[in-house]
Amino acid sequence: MNTLLKYSLAVTLIFSITACKKYTDLDIQNPNRQDESNFWKTGTDALQGLNALYGNFYRNGSPGSRWTPFYFDIRSDDGYSTSPWNELRSIGDLNITQYSFEVNHDTWWHHWRGIYRANQVLANVPDISMDENLKAQYLGEAKFLRALYYYNLVTIWGNIPLILEPSQPADKPSQVPQEQVWAQIEKDLTEAAAVLPNSYSGEETGRATKGAAYGLLGRAHLQQLEYQQAADALAWLITGPGQGIYGLMSDFGDNFKHTTENNMESVFEVQFKMRPENSGEDGPMSNVGTSRPPFFAPPGHGFNDANMRRWVVHEFLREETASGDRDPRLAYTALYDSTDERGPDFTMVYGSSFTSKNYDPAIQNRVWYRKYLDDYFRINEFEVFNSPINFRIIRYADVLLMYAEALNGLNRTSDAYPFVDRVRERAGLDPLSIARPGLNQAQFLQQLEHERIMELTGESLRWNDLARWGYFDDPAKLAILKARDPEFNNFVIGRNKYMPIPQSELDINPNLVQNEGW
C-alpha cells in the first residue's frame, strides 16, 4: 500500500509540474482575434481596414442614416416633429435642453467613429508594401470619407476638434478654428480627387470616385461662399471628364428606390442592404440596412417622428409642368392626403388608400417625407429597420444646381441658366429661360432657392442651404423662416445655427468649450 501511494504521489507531482506549462503561461495568445501587432501587414489588411471605414455608415448617427435627417431636414423650416419623445422633438423645436440625449450623443459619436477609422487607415496603410495604385486609391477613399464626416461635424456643431491621427484613450482634444477644419476638408478632397478612379466596375461599385471627391469639394467651397473654387471643382463633373459619366435619370423617382441604385445620377451613395440582422453594432450579422424609415413613416407603418411642413406642398403647386400637369416630383417628395392628385381615395399609404386609414383629424393634415420610405414594397406592413434603399449623399441634380449657384455667385447668372434648366426639364417644367428669363443675380438666387426645394427637399441638404443663404444670421431673413415654421420662434441668432455639443463630452474634457448660447 505504501509503495503504491508513493508511486501515485510521484506521478501526481510529475504531472503537476510538467503538464502545466499550458496552465502557468502568463503570455497567452489570443486565439480569437488579430491585433495591431499582426494586422496592417498586407494589401488585404488595408482593404479590410478601408471596408470597416465604409462599414461605419451602418450606424444610426452616421451620414445618411437614421439621425442626420433630424439635423438637416426636421430642424429646418420644411420639417417638424410630433414625436412623443420630447428630446427628439426638441431638435426640430430648436429648444433642445438635453444635450447628451441619445440622438445628439450618437450622431456626434458615430461621426467621430468614422474619423477614427479613417485615421487608422491613413496612418497604417502607407507603410504596407502592396500594389501602389491600390494603396493610393485606398488612401484616397479614406480621405474622401474623412472629409465627408468632417463636413457634417463642422456644419452641425461648428466648433470641433480636428483629429487626424488614431486616437488614444486619454485624448482630450481642443477645438480648432472652423477655417482649419474647412482647410483640412479641402486638402483631403483635393488629394482624394487626384488619385481616385473615375468609376468602378462590378462588385466594387459604390466606392468613392473622383466625381464624388470633386462633388463634395464643390459643396464644401460653396458652403463657404467660395464660388470660384466651387465652380472649378464641380466643373469636372459637368464640363470636364465627368460629363460623360453623369446624367439625370428620366424618372425622378429612381433616385429613391433600391431597385435603381448607383445609377448615372448618383455621385456618391451610402450602400444599404436588407437582410436579417440583430441589434448589435459591428458584430456578426449586424445591420447593413438603414433604420431611417420607421421614424419617418406615418402612423401604423412607423413612429411618425417626422413631418413635412405643408407649405412645401403649396410651393410645388405654384408652377405646373409645360403640359399643365402637377410637378411630378411632388408625389415622390410628399406623402399626404393628395399625393395622388385625385385625393385621399386614390392616394396610397403603404398599399391602402389614405381614406381607408381613417386618421383622426390631427393626423389627416400631416405631410410625410416620402423619399426613402419603403412604401412601394412594404405593402400594408410596418416599416423595417434594415431598409435597403441607398442614401444618395451627392446626386447629379444637386451638382447642377450647386454649379448654377456658384456661377451666379460669380455674377455669371446667364451662364447658370442651362444647368437649372436641365433639372427643370427632367421634371417636365419649362426651361427657366422661358419661365423666368432675365433674372438678376439676387432674383436668380431666389429662384434657385425654389428650385432646390422642389428638387431636394428631404435629402438632408436644407439646413446647410439656409445657413449658406444667411437665414441664420439676419433677423429679416429669420422672420421668413418663422412665418413658414413657428418652431423658428425658438431660434436665437448666435445660438441655434449650431447644435450644442453633448454635455457628457464637456464633463470629461475640460479643453472643450460649449457652443455659444447653449
Binding site: 501511494l5 502557468t24 453594432e281
Partner: protein, 1010 residues
Amino acid sequence: MEKKKRLNLFMMLVVALMFSIPLIAQQIVRGTLRNTAGEPLAGATITVKGSDRSVVTDVNGNFTIDVPVGTVLVISTVGFQEREVTVTGGELNEVMQPVDESLSEVVVIGYQTVRRRDLTGAVGIIDPNTANRNVANTLAESIQGLTPGVTVRNTGAPGGAAKIDIRGAGTFAGNNPLYIIDGMYTDASPDFNPQDVESIQILKDASAAAIYGSRAANGVIIITTKKGRPGPLRVTGSIKAGIQNVHNRYDMMDATAYRDLATKLYQSGGLPVPTSLTSDFDPAINTDWQDEFLRQGAIGEYNLAFSGSLAKAVNFYVSGNHFSNKGPVIDNSFKRSGVRINTSTTFSRFTIGENLLLSWTKEDPIAATGVGVNPFVDMITMPPVVALQDSRYQSPENPEGWGIGLNNAYLSTLTANVPALQRLDQFEQNNFKIRGNAFLDFRILDGFTYRFNFGLEKSVDKGEGLRRPGTVRQGTPSPNNNQVAVFTSRGEFESKLFEHTLNFEKNFDVHRLSAVAGYSNQSFDHPIFRFTTIGNNPTTEDPYTNLWNNVGLLGRVNYSYDDKYLASVTFRRDGSSLFGENNRWGNFPSASVAWRISKEDFWNVNAINDLKLRASYGSLGNSEFLQPWLYYAQINPFPRAVFGPNEVEQIGAIVTRLANSDLRWEKKNTTNIGLEASLFNNMFTLSADYFIAETEDVLVDLPINLTTGNAGGNPAVNAASLQNKGFELALSFRPKPGPDFSWGATLNFTTIRNEVLAFGNATTLHTQLGDARTELGRSIGEWYVLKTDGIFQNQAEIDAHIGKTGQVLQPWSMPGDIRYVDVDDDGELDLDKDRYYAGSPWADWEAGILLNGAYKKFSINMQWYAVVGNKLYNRPRYQVDRMDQNTNFREGATFWTPQNTNTEWPRAAIGAPDQGIQYNVLPQSDRWLEDGSYLRLRNLEIGYTFNETMLSRIGFNSSRIFVSGQNLLTFTKYKGLDPDITGVNIFERGLDNGQYPALRIISAGINFGF
C-alpha cells in the same frame, strides 16, 4: 500538525488496544449528555477512539457502552464541539458546548487553520444554521444581516444572484468577493446547496485575506462543506415547502378611474380623447396588469444526507438535494438538483480525500428582451383599458392579438405587453457543473506536512430559446422579421487549480509557531458558442474563447507567545495573464499583531474575562474587472461594407475598441484596529473593528471622450483612488438558561463611508451616469439633480421667482408648475448647471439583530435587518407620474388646476405639451428621490421538537417541525415595490429601475435524523 500527532498516538493506541483487549477487564459505562441549557442531547455519537465501535444516545441523552477504564471516548454531535473523554469509572455525565460558543473553535483562514482566539485579523464567522433559515438561491442571499461589514442586496428573481459588498465598495466595478469552497477558488453561483455548508468564514481585512493576495481585495468567503465522521451511519434530512409572493403592489387605477383622469389630461393638452375612453369604452375591459404578470410562487427544498465511515477507514458525507423555485411571475422558475460526495481516508503518513459537487440547474428567466421592455415597470404602466388579448389587436405583426397601443385614435401607448412577452419568448438556461477538489497530505516529519491540492470546476451551460412571431409594443415590429427564431448558446467553463503547500506547526513551551509556504496556479478556459435560426436560416455567431492563468507564491508565519502576544506576517506574489508583460506581477504583503490584555498579570477586572486588541496593515490586489487581452487593442473582424449590384458584403476589419496598454493591478491597502472582549463568563461578547482602506489604481471602464471614436465599450483603465472608512460592531448576549426557557440575542452594526480620493486623470473631476455623479471628494454615485421647490400657485409667484439679475427664471411656467431653484445663482435656470447633491445611495448605517428563544420544546428565531439613510431613485414612479399617454396612473393621482390647487401634483396634460409641462416631469429632478431606509423582519421561524420516545417507536431519533416567514414585515417610507434593491451598477447604485423585488416567503418544514 497537532492533528497528525494525535493521529499517531491514536494509531499506537489502536494497536495497544488490539493486544490488550483480552487482558483488561471490561467496564460498563453509563452516562447522560446534556447541552448547556441542561437539556438531554439525543442522537449524539460516542465512539471508542481508534475503533469503529460506537453508540448513540437515546431520547433522554443516555448511553451505555462496554469499555475498559482508560479508554478514550470521542463524543460528537452536530452543532456541538467534539470532545474526548477518558473513562475513569462507571458513570460519565457530560455537558456539551455548542460550537459557536467556543473561543477555541478552529477557523479556516486559508491554507491554515487557527484557533479562533488566536485570530489577529478581522474575520466574520457565520453560523450556517442561522443562514439556512432563509430560503435563498445563493449563499450570499442567506447571510444578509448576519455579520457586520457584509452588505447584501437582494433580488427576488428565481436563480438570481444577490450582490454582496464586504466592507463597502473598494472599487468601481468587479466588487465580488472571492469564494473558496473546500480550497477551490470559485465564485458565487446558485448551484450550491446551502444545507451542505459546515462553516462560513468571511475574511475582511488585509491580514486575514492576504494569503489570497491578488484576488482578495473584495474580501474572501471561505466555505467548508460537511465531512464524514467516524461512527455509525447517520442519516439526516429536511423538507421545506412554502409559497412566495411579490409582497407589495403598486396601487394603480382601474379602467373607469383611468378613463376619467386620462380624459381630462387629453382635454387639457388640447388633443382629441381616444375612442377607447369614449365611444369605444368597454367596461368589460379592466385589465389588472399586475395580476396578469404576477402569480403566487412556491418553493420546495428537499435534502437527504448520509455520513459515517466505511470499513473503518473512509469517512464520507454524501448528500442529495433538490430545490425548486416557482417564481411569482408567470413562466419564471428556477430548479437545482445536486449531489455531494465528500470522502477522506488516512494511511500511515498519507491522507487523501476529495470533495465533489455535481449540480444541475435549470432557469427560466423573465423575458425582458425587446425595444422598450422593462417588465416590472410595464406591469404598472400599461393602461387598464387595453385587453390582455383580443381580436381588435390582431395584425400580421401581432397574429395572436396581444393587447398593445393601437393608434392615436383608439389608444396609443408605447408600453409593452409583458404578460404576452412571457408567453411569446421562451428561454431556458440549463447548467451542469462539477466542482470540487482532491488532495493528498503527506506528513514528512513531525510538524511538517506537504499538501497537493487539485481543484476543478467544469460546467456545461446550454441556453435554448424560442421566440414566436408577434409584437408586444405599439410601433415596434415583430422581431426576427416576424418569423420564428430559435436561439441556442453553449458555454463550457473549465478552471483547474494546482497547489503545492508545505505546512509547519510547532509548539514549545509558551511559544506557538505555525507557517505555510506554497505555490498556487489556476487556469481558466471558457469557450462560448451561439447559434441563431431565424425562419430557416441558421447562423453561427462569433465563437469566442477566453483563456487566462494565475500563478501565485504564498507564505505566512503565525507566532504566539503565551497566548498573550500574537503576530502574523503574510506575503503573496501573484502573476496574471490579464496584464501586459511589464505589469503582470504584483506583491501583496501584510502583517498583524494582537495583544491579549486579559492575560497580563496586572489584569484584574474579573467581569471582563477576555480582552484582546488587534491591529493589522496590508495590501491586497484586484483584477476582477478585467477580461483576457484587454491590455491591447484587438482587430474587430465584423464590420461589413456592401458594394456592387449584387450587394456583396465585403469583409472589414479594424480596431473599434481602444485599449490602455499599461493596465496594472488594482491595490487596496487596509489598516484595521480591532477589539474583542468577553464579559461575565462569556455572557456578553463584543467585537469591534475600525478600518481605513485605500484603493489605488482602481480598474474600471470610465467613459472616454466620444471624439476618440471608441466603440464597443470603454477601455479598462486604472482610473482612480478610493477610500473606505468604517466601523463594525458585533455584540452578543447569552444569559444563563433557565430550566424551561432560554434566550439569546446578537446585534451587528456597520457604518461605512466611501470617498473618491483621485481620478487617474488630473483633469477629470467627476464622472456622471444618468442622474448620479461621482465626484472627487464625495461618495460614489451621489444623486445630482435639479432642486424643486413646490408648485407655483399663481402668476404672481412665477413673476416673483427671479434670479439675481432680476430675470424671471421660468418665464414659460404657468400656475401649477413646479418651481426649480437656481442652484448656482447665476440668474438663469440651466438643466445641467442647476443641480445639487440631493442624497447618497449609501446607507448611513445598517444593522442586523438576531433573537433566539426556546421554551420547552418550542423555539423561536427572528432576524431583523435595518438600512438607514440612503436615497433611492424611484424610476417606476417617474414613469407613471409623468402622466403621458403611455401610462396608467397611481390610484388617487390628480393634477393641478385652478380649481384643484391643494395638491402635490403639478399641472399636467397629454400631447404637445408646453415647456412648463415638460419641466414638471423632468427625470433629472429630486421629485423622484425617496428615502430608502427600512427595517425588516427578515426571518421569523417557530419550531417544535418532537418528543423523542414517540419518535423512536417509528425509527427516528430526532425530528423537528417549523414554520418560517421571510420578509414578513417591512417598515419603510419608500413607495416602490421594495427598498432592498441591487441598483443598476455601482455608479447608479441607488436606482430602482424596476428591479425584481425581494419576495415574501412563507414556508413550513421538517428536519429529521435517524
